[in-house]
């Protein structure tokens, strides 16, 4: 067996020309799984990853290191108008290296929607179960008992119980976790079983050649084939091109760079999918409710997410947008960014960080045909443009979620609840919640976030409405596959890691057969 290697930007001082069976672009959940499967089958695979190869040696548990080093746009990617903050991984292992370990299978109702509306007949619980079994075994997805939940999560649990809302415990892909709470900054002890420490080394051991710090800038295509993949080598310290180029001449290409970046690369390469590439991008748009408790919460400590509620995930049989509830970890820099108050008022809120608790409501977008979601396009200067079309459906879900989160926090014993509007709505125990409805419900009037990006290269059986066909092939080219979150026709209503891993595994036989 040929053992592969991980190359970094500092290893490449001159132009490289490579050939291979499959060039996988992107090392996140989809790409890592696909590469592991293809190399296991004996294929020669080259992987190009824009982010750096950072490992536990680099994970110093500091926000100032993690966000600029391992997230897109130094941790502050946003929509064009800055109304939505986008947290998206940019490192070997992709989002799996920096996510909060929450592991969910694709819900049955989502699979049913995809079968019914996108013609994806293979997406059944029965057919996906073996993939999830493998994923959960390989990534060590385990139960996280309530007694190990930190106080930030426990208060959500208590609030849900007090109001009689359904609640559950999140399974996590960890092994011998030390319960530190810094999953979003990389696990310093490799307890988080991300793709970085599982599937990527599996693939390397099976012959994968992975080039980190390599940003693919174009897919050169002619006729019905991608002929070459063109990449620039980046300086890992500055993130800027350092000169050398990598040119790969593959038999097949698998695009696994995720939503936003994947469609962007296709568009930059002149592959617009008949105007469909980059459209219908969904985000689980998030709003936040912050609460203050008398006793310490220390939201910066302990496993970030261990409690969830799907009580509101389906509302009025789909007539209203649903949302699910979890909690986020809160460290000082993110707390400072989230709080809209300025000057001493802002400092006053930050001084209460140890008593701060937060709930996030992740809205479930993309299930109504009227929703356009987000659109990726290319600006005249070549940079990415990304905008999200909020509708009354989104705003209604936000307003409802904001009230429900406040109710939960007061039910759990909060003294004060603060929204992230500008100006914020500040409620004390016993106050009516009506002021939340009258808050500034408009772009830039309330902090909106996303940590899950889905769609933009929607998969489906109808050539008129999909970018990728049910065999994971980009329509119009014979040797270009897509295997990442951009395939999703809708959002999910759960954290997407397991679904994206499953997509990578489902794509593998199609790519293998194409090479054969």
């Amino acid at each position: 067996m040929t053992v592969g290697r991980i190359f970094r930007g500092e290893d490449v001082d001159q132009d490289l020309s490579l050939t291979c069976d499959v060039c996988v672009i992107g090392s996140g959940a989809g790409g890592a799984m696909l590469a592991a499967e293809l190399t296991r089958a004996g294929l020669d695979v080259v992987m190009l990853e824009e982010g750096s190869h950072r490992t536990r040696r680099d994970f110093d548990l500091k926000e100032e290191t993690a966000y600029p080093g391992m997230y897109q746009d130094l941790g502050n990617r946003t929509t064009d108008d800055r109304s939505v903050s986008i947290l998206q991984g940019r490192t070997v292992g992709g989002g799996t290296t920096v996510n909060w370990c929450s592991s969910f299978r694709t819900p049955s109702r989502v699979l049913a929607h995809w079968r019914d509306h996108a013609g994806l007949s293979d997406f059944t619980d029965e057919k996906l179960a073996p993939h999830f079994d493998f994923i959960e075994e390989r990534l060590h997805v385990e139960a996280w008992p309530l007694e190990r939940a930190n106080r930030n999560n426990r208060l959500l649990w208590d609030g849900l119980g007090a109001l009689g809302y359904s609640r559950g415990l999140i399974r996590r892909n960890v092994h011998r976790c030390a319960n530190l709470g810094y999953c979003g900054m990389g696990c310093p002890i490799d307890a988080k079983r991300s793709a970085l420490v599982t599937l990527i080394p599996d693939a390397v051991e099976q012959g994968l050649r992975l080039y980190a710090d390599a940003r693919v800038e174009q897919l050169e295509h002619e006729g019905a084939k991608v002929r070459r993949v063109h990449a620039r080598v980046l300086d890992p310290e500055t993130g800027r091109p350092k000169g050398p180029r990598i040119t790969v001449t593959p038999k097949h290409v698998a695009l696994c760079t995720g939503a936003l970046n994947g469609p962007m690369l296709l568009l930059q390469s002149g592959l617009g999918g008949g105007g469909r590439v980059g459209r219908k991008t969904f985000l689980h748009p998030v709003i936040v409710s912050v609460a203050f408790f008398e006793e310490p919460v220390e939201p910066f400590s302990g496993a970030p997410q261990s409690v969830y509620s799907h009580h509101f995930v389906e509302r009025d049989a789909g007539k209203r947008m649903g949302f699910f509830l979890e909690v986020p970890p809160i460290h000082p820099m993110l707390a400072g960014l989230a709080v809209s108050a300025r000057g001493e008022r802002g400092q006053g809120m930050l001084a209460k960080l140890p008593g701060m608790q937060a709930i996030i409501a992740l809205t479930v977008d993309g299930f109504d045909p009227s929703e356009e979601g987000g659109t990726v396009s290319v600006r005249r200067d070549g940079r990415m443009s990304f905008d999200y079309a909020f509708t009354e459906r989104n705003w209604e879900a936000f307003r409802t979620a904001q009230r429900e989160m406040a109710k939960l926090q007061f039910a759990a014993g909060a003294q004060q609840v603060v929204s992230l509007h500008s100006p914020p709505v500040v409620l004390s125990k016993g106050d009516a919640l009506d002021p939340l409805d009258g808050a500034s419900w408009e772009r830039l009037g309330v902090r909106i976030l996303t940590a899950h990006q889905m769609g933009g290269c929607g998969m489906g059986s109808d050539a008129k409405t999909s970018v990728v066909d049910p065999t994971f092939r980009y329509r119009g080219l014979d040797n270009l596959f897509v295997a990442d979150g951009s395939l999703m026709p809708t959002s999910l209503g759960v954290n997407p890691m397991e679904t994206i891993l499953a997509l990578g595994r489902m794509a593998a036989p199609h790519v293998k057969n194409a090479v054969a």
Binding site: V3, T78, R82, R148, P188, D190, R342, Q347
Partner: protein, 204 residues
């Protein structure tokens, strides 16, 4: 900056497509020491932009008792390192908008007051910032949001602020700066005992 910018360009394109989280430590990782203080503190902002940013950051972050000053937190230097990492186009936008705050000509048509922002009283500065934060013009709202993010992130990522916010810092004893890294090649893959199927976890 090399481009001819009209106000219309800046409004149309939006501001700061990425990259406004502060990163003083990155510079220090590279040099091993804090950047030396000069008359002009930044490398990547023009003089006017730096002057405006310092004044804005002071109002945005605050001067509450018990919190370090922006000077003590080396906020401007930390922000400058980040600014140096963003793409040239976005950096140009940032510099131009910050410079607007100090421009006497622009202040008439754009900001209102007849003085550079840095020369205004704190109360007047707060009024200007309120105007930007709640403006009906996208340019002003996005400009404020971006500048605020830069200032706040630079400030609260500084360890000198952690005591004031009750944050004990990263837990010690877990990060190993000399942890081995396997990159394949001729080196055999080390055994990862976390791949074993035991269900024990380290107690918190």
């Amino acid at each position: 900056m090399g481009n001819r910018w009209t106000r219309r360009d800046v409004i149309r394109r939006g501001l700061f497509g990425g990259a406004i989280l502060a990163l003083g430590a990155a510079a220090w990782r590279m040099t091993g020491e804090a950047p030396s203080v000069q008359l002009k503190e930044t490398r990547h902002l023009s003089r006017d932009a730096e002057t405006a940013f310092r004044a804005i950051a002071r109002r945005v972050v605050g001067t509450a008792k018990g919190f370090p000053s922006i000077e003590d937190a080396k906020l401007v230097a930390r922000a400058d390192v980040l600014v140096g990492r963003i793409d040239e186009h976005t950096r140009g936008e940032l510099d131009q908008v910050l410079s607007l705050f100090e421009s006497r000509l622009a202040s008439v048509a754009f900001l209102g007051p007849f003085q550079p922002f840095s020369a205004l009283s704190p109360e007047a500065q707060d009024r200007v910032l309120d105007g930007w934060e709640h403006s009906r013009f996208t340019l002003k709202r996005t400009g404020y949001a971006a500048i605020r993010s830069l200032a706040v992130a630079a400030y609260y990522s500084a360890p000198s602020t952690w005591e004031a916010v009750g944050y004990s810092g990263p837990p010690e004893g877990f990060h190993q700066a000399d942890a081995p890294v396997w990159r394949g090649g001729s080196e055999p893959r080390p055994v990862d005992d976390r791949d074993a199927n035991d269900a024990e976890s380290v107690s918190p």
